[in-house]
Amino acid sequence: MKKFTDWVVSNPLTTIIFIVILTLFFGYSIKNIKVDPDITSSLPKHIPAKKLYDKMNKIFPSRDFVLIAYETDSLFTPETLQDIFNITRHIEQIPSVYSVMSPTNIKVIKGSEEGIEVKEILSQPPKTTADVEKYRFTLFHSDLPTENIISKDNRMAGIMVFLKNNIKPEDAAKEILDYVNGNKFNGKIYVTGKPVLTLYLGRGMARDMGILFPLVLILIIVILWLSFKNLRGVLLPLSVVLISVTWTIGIMALTGTPISHSTNMLPILLASIAVADGIHILNHYHGEAKNYPNSKELIRNVMYELNGPVIITSVTTAAGFLALNTSQIGSVGDLGIFTSIGVIAAMFFSLSFIPASLALMKIPRKLRVSNKTGLLTKAVNVYADFLIKHYRLMFGIIILIILFSIAGFPKIVLENNTINNFPEDHPGRIAYEEINKKFGGTTFLSVMFEGDSANYIKQPKVLREMDKLETFLKSRKNVGSALSLADYIKRINKVLHAENPAYNVVPADTVEETGTDWVLENGKWVEKEIKFKVPGEQVISQYLQLYEMSGKPDDLANLVDYDYQNARITAFIDDESSETLTRLDQETRDYIKKYLRETKVELTGTSELFLAINNLVVEGQFLSIIVSLILVSIITSILFKSIKLGLYNTIPLFFAMIFNFGYMGWVGIDLNIVTMLTSSIAIGVGVDYAVHYIYRHRLELKQGDQKTAVKNTLRIAGVPIIINAVTVGLGFMILTFSTFLGVRHMGLLIAIAMFTSCFGAIAILPVFFLNLNPKILKIKNGEK
């Protein structure tokens, strides 16, 4: 390392130019960065739920939908219906829209004495009250799935917009939102659906990026100015922050990694972490200034001393982030990898850019050391005395805090729905809640019926089981409506039998029918009524043909595939909570196991994706904590050349973790894809405090007993530890200004973890050492 420092200090210009050129290159690459706010797209492809979901989307042309709700006191009036008619017509024309189902265009299967008619309910908006009444009657008496197009209280009309699969759903959502917001209607409009929430997520992310990053920079500038009161003290660490963020985002762009709901936080996390090394170096530079004749000598010696600590703290931090890769959730892994890269980059710039720059500058004549430190030192001394006197009491308090925290664990709620991430007053959340309260629901569960060959679905036994399962699904709490091909077959069967409700069933395996036939009687052809038997499958095939004769090629494409090999039931759910989704998943699987004999079915849909994310969060949470603890222990064990000492470093971390989860349980912060990140980050960053403490404590132990060592260590190492924890903690606190509750919670949790791991280092470790007086702390002869 010395050689590196020497080279940098001797070739400062080369170093700086090299870094600047690369930074320009990475900065330029950023223009290609992709943005992907969709939380479900970070599910790994090999997860069964995701595989099935992708498979389903290959079979059926439309996956995502947007629900537009039109609220008015007078739904069934010519004016309102005209509005809805117009909106429907307009949305149908949007190229990314696959199809629209609204109260004004829903297809009605109607029967007449001699035939059947399949057509849109309105060819033009009703003009008179009588027309409206007629329309209303048809709407409610045609076995239509009205749950998602007419609200339970008849005050809202729902327009379901199914999007094509080959477009970006959030772009379509934007087009729809722009249209409804840009036009005046008589009623109030709400728009929701996963694409809309993803759009809002993206907008919130952009806003967060635009506001939070500048905020964290301002915070850093303030802290740097307070610490150093000179320009270089501000500019050099700030440059490290900006350069490392630029490199990291540039590398993300070059590797095609998108800005996601997770990686969106990267710049803020990285900024808070990256500034710390610079502060250390400049602090030391100022402190040692008197002792060296020129800037080059000064910085050379400062770096000789700090290379080690800077590397250690950076490597542990990077290790903590890398542990996020144990999660199978792509975006979480991305955050882990790229923050690690950023942290290592920041380390590299702290070790090169800062000394190179300082080597080019003169030592400032007036060097001020913050007088705050003086005050803080005094406070720490008082605290140290108290701690040494009452360490048993302190021990008790710590145990109590731990027990209390653990008691909060069972209260932790696992919740990954997108909607809970939005503040309650967010327009997206209001629309979502309003619509899900009044309509069938916007989350969906799909049951896929997979056949082994074409026409499989046309078999009566298959359609009967589809019908049975659909009826079961509809009877479940929170399932607002469901659609399947069986509905159409039943409806056609009924219509062709004079609307006789007894025929509102899937035809039997063999159907007994009455029809007419032409027979030759006395040399004349006459039409005679006859009874005959016919296979149900033939009946169904011909019903479908009858329907196709009046339909468009893709009319049924969202229910059954083109050659009738695969079909699906789509059940709409009005609640996205993990509790509801888990229950429905379980109930449905139980039912299938018990009652479905003939068919092979599989569950998928957004509901299954959310559940899959939940499982990955739990699994990933567990693993990432363990892996980060192991990685950190290995590094500290190497550093202290002792596994036992290495493990001591994790004591404050355990405390911070326990407190973290206890806090989540007691305060009611959900464990989710964002808050799960907290632990590993906290471990990687928080371990530094323990390292600093133990390192110093052992040095002090050479000169005295545990008590003296504690007092001296707290005086010397305590202050920098506290300053660092406060700086980094405040940086993370910036995240609490995020649009999203998940990010706010995470910012708060990491900040708290900084304070608790700091507390762990300056309270638990001393108390632990005072109580147990472990021999291993003693530095052996020969050890440095």
Binding site: K58, I59, P61, Q93, P95, K110, S112, E114, G115, I116, E117, V118, K119, N455, K458, L496, V511, E513, G515, T516, D517, W518, L520, W525, E527, I530, F532, V534, E537, Q538, V539, S541, Q542, Q545, L546, E548, M549, S550, G551, K552, P553, D554, D555, A557, D561, Y562, D563
Partner: protein, 261 residues
Amino acid sequence: MRKFGILVVVFLTAATILPAKKLTGYEIMKTALNKGGWKTMSASVEMILTNASGKMRRRIIQMYTRKRTENESDMLMRFVYPADVKGTGFLLIERENADDLRYLYLPALRRIKRIASSGKGGNFMSSDFTYYDIGKPKLDDWKYKLLGTETVGGKACYKIECLPASEKIKEETGYGKIIRWIRKDIFLTVKSVYYDKGLAKWKILTVPDYSQIGGVWFQTDMVLRDIQNNHTSEMIFSDIKINNIIPSKFFTKRFLQRGVK
């Protein structure tokens, strides 16, 4: 006119009518749609529908058609394949001043069901062809403009722009514009591009195969591709016979159900 319908379109050989002077778009279309070609026709039609994911539906139909009046035709179709709809019959009676009559005979029910008209713009047997497309071409529904000459498949063609003659035609057919390429020598449409009401490109008709039967040129293979919805319909004609005697009773409900009995 629109597409020619079923195969339809026809002309006499060029020599008979070609005037020496330069033809207008209207004259070219008139020639192309010249009524003199045939009165009745029967054929076996294979219809292949392919959706966006490449899945196919295949049907084989025996078809009989006649031109009943200047602007009206009748058509009887019987499904031969697939097995589950075999015997199904479809009778279409075009009416100039009223909705077409459409009847389907379902052998599984032994009943004829009338299918309410979805208008001329409705899809014919859920293919990309509309009833208008397969019906008798109506020269005066459109205004024509000769855009020039282009080569399609190595043959010189007139390129003709067809614009709906009225709002009604536009609404009914769903077409805001059609561009046709008509072979100069035999006056057969070999390619068409259909635009929707918003004038966005919608469907493309290509004619991979055509032949002369009884002195009349027929498109014997037509591929209509909906580029907006990525769906394709192909109709392949074989065993074409023209001006064979098809009795009038073929085009009745009674015959639809009774068949050849």
